[in-house]
Amino acid sequence: MNPFDLPPILYQIALALELIGWVALLAFPWQRWANFWLAGVAIPQTLALFYIYSLITFWFLPRHGSFRDFLTLEGVYRLFDNQGLLFVAVLNIIAMTLAAGAWMTRKAAQSGMPRFLLTICLVATVVFPGIGFLLFAIVASIRGRWALISNVEQVPAVESQPVAAIVAGLPQVAK
């Protein structure tokens, strides 16, 4: 085996981890352990550790990475001659797409989006992420869901449960 090749098993482990995240999102979209802790934090974070490991070990191997390569599309392709760096790019796609998919699921839960619409967006995101995000943006435009999402994305956090705390804090606001 060429020492500059990545063991194929690592690639399969990464894809399997990603798959677990997506299955959890599709099967339990309204459960917080699935749409936040597992698919939104734990699995993207594990894939990010693979990413860091692969980046550090392969960046300096031939043909080694260079920041200049980011400046042109041909440079990006040259970068991917290095299998480890190609793996890093794939990890970037699957980890960040899963994190974005988990975010979409949470916002669907928070804005009362029907499950079948969310499922369509999620499946599209797994296959072609750009199409899935576009579908989500369109679905969220219906019935003012973007406004609801906008709301939950700017309310400040409070010590205890947010909704209870807003109510508790109200008398002071009223004064």
Binding site: Y11, F36, G130, W146
Partner: protein, 174 residues
């Protein structure tokens, strides 16, 4: 005319678009128009639109893509021999990194994480997303902010602005 001549030029256009998104995020990390509407919704949606157009235009160009190729690293490399599809993958990376960067900025704003900790996370997410995301997770863990984020990520959205409806509810409570 060879359509595969366009991706190298489009690369600069796309980098410029995503660069504006990141610039706004770095300059106005606590402004809702920047960290949600602009960097979190508008620019990623625009990039996704570019993604879809590029995907349709270049999927059938030689070397013709095969979806089964994504299951091995060699297959992925073969797919990227088509520069149009390489650009599609690059747009995918840029879009999702910006979505997550904007989300990080919003959570930092909502949990009052100091900007000095957020800034390096954002810069690293732009350059190497895996490192930036990990730095953010660590910074959030040190500040014990994860439970607050978990609570924010499950509260129900309300129709009007939460602050605007607050006084009405207040009377009933007291």
């Amino acid at each position: 005319m060879d359509p595969l001549k366009f991706p190298p030029i489009l690369y600069f256009v796309i980098m410029a678009v995503v660069g504006v998104g990141w610039l706004m995020l770095l300059l106005f990390p606590r402004r809702h128009w920047a960290n949600f509407w602009f960097a979190g919704v508008a620019v990623p949606t625009l990039l996704s639109l570019g993604y879809v157009i590029l995907l349709i235009l270049f999927w059938f160009q030689p070397p013709q893509a095969d979806y089964g190729d994504i299951f091995t690293l060699d297959g992925v490399y073969r797919t990227f021999g088509n520069r149009g599809l390489l650009l599609v993958a690059w747009v995918n990376i840029l879009t999702m990194d910006l979505v997550i960067g904007a989300w990080m900025a919003r959570k930092a704003s909502q949990t009052r994480m100091p900007y000095v900790y957020l800034l390096p996370c954002l810069v690293m997410t732009f350059i190497f997303a895996g490192i930036g995301f990990t730095m953010f997770a660590v910074a959030m863990a040190f500040g014990e902010r994860w439970p607050a984020i978990a609570a924010l990520e499950q509260m129900k959205g309300v129709k009007a602005n939460a602050f605007a409806i607050a006084p009405e509810g207040a009377g009933k409570v007291s």
